[in-house]
Amino acid sequence: MATIKIPPVLRASVGGEREVSADGERVGEVLRALAEAHPATATQLFGPDGELNRYVNVYLNDEDVRVLDGLDTVVGAGDVLVILPAMAGGR
């Protein structure tokens, strides 16, 4: 069971929760379990091709899964998935 941290922009879709739990051995499985439990998140998390929405960044603990193995990244017991919107930085 992984913990998923929900950003403010998605909280209305999960009943206002700041974090939820979901099962899955890989990032994609955990996020699909989240989307099944909270269907309003599905179209925000995933694009029509089933891949991550390009404006969603998902971190396994603190590392961006896109630079790891994407949705196939293995999630261990006690890991935390952090969902964040893609924001501009750069001073």
Partner: protein
Amino acid sequence: MSLPELKNRPCGGRYGDVVQSIGNTPLVELKRLSPKPGVRIWAKLESRNPTGSVKDRVARAMIEDAEEKGAIVPGQTILEPTSGNTGISLAMICAYKGYGVKVVMPDNVTPERTQLLKMYGAEIVYSDGTKGSNGAVELALEMAAADARYYMPYQYGNAANPLAHYNGTAVEILEELDDVAAFVAGLGTGGTLMGNGRRLKEAFGDNVKIVAAEPMQGEPVQGLRSLDDGFIPPIIDLALLDRKIFVTNGDAITWTRKLLDEEGIFAGVSSGAIARVAVRIAGELDEGNVVFIVADDGWKYLSSGLYTLPPDQIQNLESTLWW
């Protein structure tokens, strides 16, 4: 033990004016932060540029590129979205060269940035701070579309931004080090990582790991209406990155203090975050050089008290756009 002096530019070089003096920054070893003897950590002090940040390189490259293309003429106004440093660099360079500057900046940055921008003669348009830098980009794009007299370099999409590093910062690193195991920089526009990353990968292939440290934006600056208001700078190519790690504001400030207290490096908040990631990567290596970028100095953060107050007494930790 002191190192041999740099042979290439022993006095930092001789230049015809302040704009030409941008770059050629020191590379300083941080022995106290190194977790093991075989791994050497080097800080590239971009804070030693004329306005105190790495953005001097980027601003000069974008303005000179526009001049070469005939896209700007003296007297014209340059418009740019920025949370401070790029605007300050543009303002200095344009004041010297005779262009006007208008910057679009979130209203929740540290107050020193406003003073520095005004000092160099820039005009400031504030954007909604709850939208972070996204809000500044959105507003600047609207202003540029509505008035053709503006020239917007647009650091997020301008190839001159990464090229400033490909042809500058990375070349200087390669002049001083025979091998680099990891290069760590902050991810904002992506210019530093893309430009240095490409040049270092050309030199060392996959033996060098390119690592991004990015800010975990505090909740008060995640004021998006929907995820579709998100923003990905067009110059970023994630395929070039080997790791991408976020750092919370609290950790970034803790490590900004460590840089100061343990190594005497007076740096801005992003440099603390970058140092934290650099030390972590160093701990995963057995040997080699880890280079990280000190993106700016600490002067423009002094009013926050972050160098002197206990971390839990720093005001607006989560709602300030630190980097």
